[in-house]
């Protein structure tokens, strides 16, 4: 045939944005989770290493705390509906449980102004698994993203009312993405691609804590963007042999790839207010600089579908989260907590992906704390996240794709799937703390 067989447009590999709003599930301290994950304005314990390094110098004791949560996340999908083309196709993710954890340790002289700390925590991570042959298999079948932040921290109490702190963040992680290639059918069914790699990145976390009065404390923190770089990941392809040779659409034995996933910066201002000895209120406002996430690009060592790189637009917008939480000491030993936060989606219309079918979320939290002894305490939390039902219209996808093409890019209809998505997440968690 004289006709060149081109798959360029057919099966461009597109990637993922696992750590998006949706999966930036804030789970960095059980006590805080119970109170809607507030805590920037309060100096509790060593978890200030994450929430506000400035507050660490205000913590009263040295402290080691270790905790973890179990994430059960489900996304329901319903195919697009049209008056003349209704669909009863619906499916749901069957994602494995996520298990983020936190470890914080702080140390400083009892009456000193300086505190040192080490935090190891998992602020971003995701696990999304769709059925292998679901309607959107060409966009995504499964995604696993893990990241562990290691943050040595120093905090200094400048005056009795003012503390500052800063931590250096080194992040390690991994990404694994599997998707079908629907435009290429083989004898064993549809083809698929698997991208797998380790990632690392650096950043910082700084904060300031101000004890305005006995009752009111105010904190501000800034966690910098961390660019998670995958350097030399492995891309392998389960494709018909002829597409490797002689067609040369896919490199024999796969190829290496590089990619960068920006974990966005977050600025927070938080307030803590002790109504009385028993009752504490907290309010946090997060501003997440999601607009850093413009596209997801993979650079390949050897050409895939004739291209050395593929890019899929994301064009996120900055988003806000408002959190309100409360704690009530029911007895000397028992604390009960509750909270609510509203998590605004950074994803614009037409840019929802099956990796992060993101929508505005209403999040409800409950918590319990128990002082086992003077030195030991346990905290538990339960977080319920209800994503609002969100429809992605084909017309929005098409319009975005057209503007992408007009901007010199490629059509991006292969990265997005029209339909209605709804998320629900249940997260129980538990931690133990030791004070000395």
């Amino acid at each position: 045939m004289k006709h060149p067989i081109s798959f360029l447009a057919c099966c461009a590999l597109v990637g993922t944005q696992a750590f998006a709003g949706g999966y930036q599930v804030a789970l960095q301290g059980q006590r805080q989770i119970g109170m809607a994950h507030t805590g920037v304005g309060l100096a509790y314990d060593a978890s200030s290493i994450f929430f506000n390094p400035g507050g660490l110098s205000f913590t009263k004791t040295n402290n080691i705390t270790f905790g973890g949560s179990i994430i059960r996340s489900r996304v329901r999908y319903l195919a697009p509906q049209d008056a003349s083309a209704p669909s009863n196709y619906s499916t749901m993710t069957n994602s494995p449980l996520g298990t983020p954890f936190t470890f914080y340790a702080s140390y400083g002289p009892k009456e000193g102004k300086l505190k040192f700390g080490l935090g190891v925590y998992t602020p971003y991570g995701s696990s999304v698994k769709w059925e292998d042959d679901w309607k959107g298999y060409s966009v995504l079948q499964e995604l696993k993203l893990q990241s562990i932040f290691i943050q040595p921290t120093v905090s200094y109490k400048i005056t009795e009312k003012l503390g500052i702190g800063v931590g250096f963040v080194y992040s390690i992680g991994s990404v694994e993405l599997r998707k079908g290639i629907g435009s290429l059918s083989g004898a064993d069914g549809f083809s698929s691609a698997l991208l797998k790699g380790d990632a690392s990145g650096m950043g910082f976390n700084a904060g300031i804590h101000f004890q305005a009065s006995d009752k009111l404390s105010i904190g501000a923190s800034y966690r910098s963007q961390v660019d998670m770089k995958v350097d030399g990941g492995d891309a392998t392809f389960k494709v018909p042999a002829s597409s490797v040779s002689p067609l040369g659409l896919f490199p024999s034995g796969g190829t290496k790839f590089d990619a960068t996933l920006p974990l966005p910066a977050t600025a927070t201002i938080g307030f803590g207010y002790k109504v009385n000895d028993k009752f504490t209120l907290a309010l946090d406002y997060n501003y997440v600089f999601w607009s850093a996430y413009k596209e997801l690009k993979f650079d390949y060592e050897k050409p895939v579908n004739g291209a050395l790189s593929t890019a899929s637009p994301r064009k996120y917008q900055d988003a806000s989260i408002i959190r309100v939480g409360a704690e009530y000491m029911a007895t000397e030993k028992f604390a009960v907590r509750a909270g609510y936060y509203f998590d605004q989606s950074p994803v614009k219309d037409g840019y929802m992906t099956p990796e992060t079918p993101d929508a505005n979320r209403n999040c409800f939290t409950l918590g319990l704390g128990y002082k086992i002894t003077d030195k030991f305490s346990a905290d538990a939390s339960f977080l319920f996240i209800e994503g609002t039902e969100r429809e992605q219209k084909q017309s929005d996808i098409d319009a975005n794709s057209a503007s992408n093409v007009a901007g010199g890019g490629k059509p991006s209809q292969d990265s997005f799937l029209a339909g209605t998505y709804k998320l629900r997440v249940l997260i129980p968690g538990l931690s133990l703390s030791y004070r000395f």
Binding site: M1, A9, A85, N88, K135, S183, L184, G186, S242, L368
Partner: protein, 509 residues
């Protein structure tokens, strides 16, 4: 401690209770809403309706024919059983088909013919000969399963529907009939006797397609005259809708034949490869070959005729070869090469005669000539294959491989006229209408279904099978969806659509 565990226990129990509540979205229930009766749905049409694919009718293709998929969706909405006249499991290769077995190079696929299934064949009959459909005059074994609902008959034209005894020349129809019915049954009468409660009708493609795929060689296939098409089509649909069951249904129109990969695959490459010094190539029109061949048969020693009057080779302008305008996404130009020309496209400009050799063999087979006559035909052909193929009027491109500007215009005029008949008939009888012509044009431009790129590229486009004319399973799912949309739009039903991405395109080895 006890209280601690108790309280954490309550929290845990609450958590487990919530785990059972997964996110839900209201999902529509498929329904005909009492608007139509799909208890006895039948499909009327040709090879596309039968599930013919990759140059053959075989079990795998029959199972995913678009009417089968429509019936599957009807069933969700309370529809009845729908049986296609499937080949039995031991006849699964049917009439044989093409299989993609590999590639000689990135641009030349190896298409292997899977032989016809001996178990599917009852015998041979001179009656059954058809150059493109049934060159080996095969009689297929009769279908013996439950009552047939898929009346898709490969090769049938509107021109043929009233022909009594049509089951003899067309064994695809013949296998749907009993021996007693064969001598007298016409397609129209047989379909009417099914008393459907609902029907889809996608007829008419072959009234243009045969002429077109034969490169406009009228010696091989002719366009159906407009008057003949109009009379037969309108009468058939009128009779159908007047049945006591008063069936409702939808009519599909005819796609512009030049928007299928059979015509759009080979030409653009030729256009690019021809040197600027060759503004035109030569095509030879077959007009009177038959009489000359017969003269040779009658006087093999000294026929005294030259088969090809090569002084008449007609120049065709290279600039008019249709190719894709990437800016508009449409094919522009009106000269098309057939997919069957692909083995010879590389011969252009070279002293080669492979294309003619193939043509002469086909003609000899068609007229049952002994192979001893081949050198005689060559000697009297008037061809000079030492001349550059296509660039010399002594070695022109055979008619059957080229649809030239005039032939394209004729085919397109016929499509427009027939579609006008189909649309007015739909209006007159208050039936649904599937604009397959417009739909196929949108595929040519390229579209996405389930985030998968779909276009009319040969092999990789996803919708068209290895013959460049008929549909892949994914193409059938797309066609089924277009019919379902037309039904919903016309009758206000809520028949649900399929996910095309879950059906395969061409299978790569």
């Amino acid at each position: 401690m006890k209280t601690l565990f108790k309280n954490f226990g309550i929290l845990g129990a609450a958590g487990i209770a919530l785990i059972s509540c997964d996110p839900k979205i209201d999902t529509p229930t498929p329904s005909v809403d009492g608007k139509i009766d799909v208890s006895n749905y039948i499909s009327i049409g040709n090879s596309l309706t039968a599930g013919y694919a990759s140059n053959g009718l075989y079990l795998e293709g029959q199972k995913v024919a678009y009417p089968v998929l429509i019936a599957q969706q009807f069933k969700l909405a309370g529809g009845g059983e729908f049986n296609a006249p499937l080949f039995a499991a031991n006849e699964s290769d049917g009439t044989g088909y093409l299989r993609l077995d590999g590639f000689l190079s990135a641009t030349s696929p190896i298409l292997t013919s899977v032989p016809r299934d001996p178990d599917a064949v009852a015998g041979k009959s001179a009656f059954a000969y058809n150059a493109s459909l049934n060159p080996d005059s095969i009689i297929l074994k009769p279908y013996s399963g439950p009552t047939n609902h898929n009346w898709g008959v490969p090769g049938i034209r509107v021109a043929d529907i009233e022909t009594a005894g049509y089951g003899y020349p067309n064994s695809y129809f013949g296998r749907m009939l009993t021996d007693a019915e064969k001598p007298t049954a016409s397609y129209a009468a047989k379909v009417l006797s099914q008393n459907p409660t609902f029907f889809t009708c996608w007829l008419g493609n072959n009234d243009v397609l045969g002429y077109s795929t034969a490169g406009g060689a009228e010696l091989i296939a002719q366009l159906t005259p407009e008057a003949d098409f109009t009379t037969k089509y309108k009468k058939f649909i009128t009779d159908l809708t007047n049945l006591p069951t008063k069936p409702k249904g939808v009519l599909g129109n005819i796609p512009d034949v030049t928007s299928i990969p059979f015509f759009t695959t080979v030409g653009p490459g030729i256009k690019l490869s021809l040197p600027a010094s060759v503004p035109a190539f030569y095509e030879f029109k077959f007009d009177s070959v038959l009489n000359k061949v017969l003269t040779i048969i009658n006087n093999p020693g000294n026929p005294g005729v030259t088969i090809l009057d090569t002084t008449k080779g007609s120049p065709v302008l290279t600039s008019r070869i249709a190719s894709l305008n990437s800016a508009t996404g449409t094919f522009e130009g009106d000269v098309f090469f057939t997919l069957t020309f692909s083995p010879y496209a590389g011969d252009l400009g070279k002293p080669k005669g492979a294309a003619w050799k193939a043509i002469i063999k086909t003609v000899m087979k068609q007229y049952g000539l002994p192979s001893a006559l081949e050198p005689v035909i060559w000697a009297n052909s008037g061809l000079d294959t030492t001349q550059p193929f296509g660039f010399s009027h002594r070695n022109p491109v055979p008619d059957v491989f080229v649809l030239n500007s005039a032939e394209t215009a004729k085919a397109r005029a016929a499509v427009a006229a027939f579609n006008n008949v189909i649309q007015t008939t739909a209006t007159e009888h208050n039936l649904g209408y599937v604009d397959a012509n417009s739909y196929l044009k949108s595929i040519t431009k390229g579209a996405y279904y389930d985030a998968i790129s779909t276009n009319s590229s040969f092999l990789s486009g996803g919708a068209f099978s290895l013959d460049g004319v008929h549909l892949t399973p994914r193409g059938n799912a797309l066609a089924a969806n277009e019919f379902i949309k037309a039904i919903n739009a016309k009758y206000g039903t809520k028949i649900t659509v399929l996910n095309p991405g879950q059906y395969r395109g061409v299978t790569f080895p």
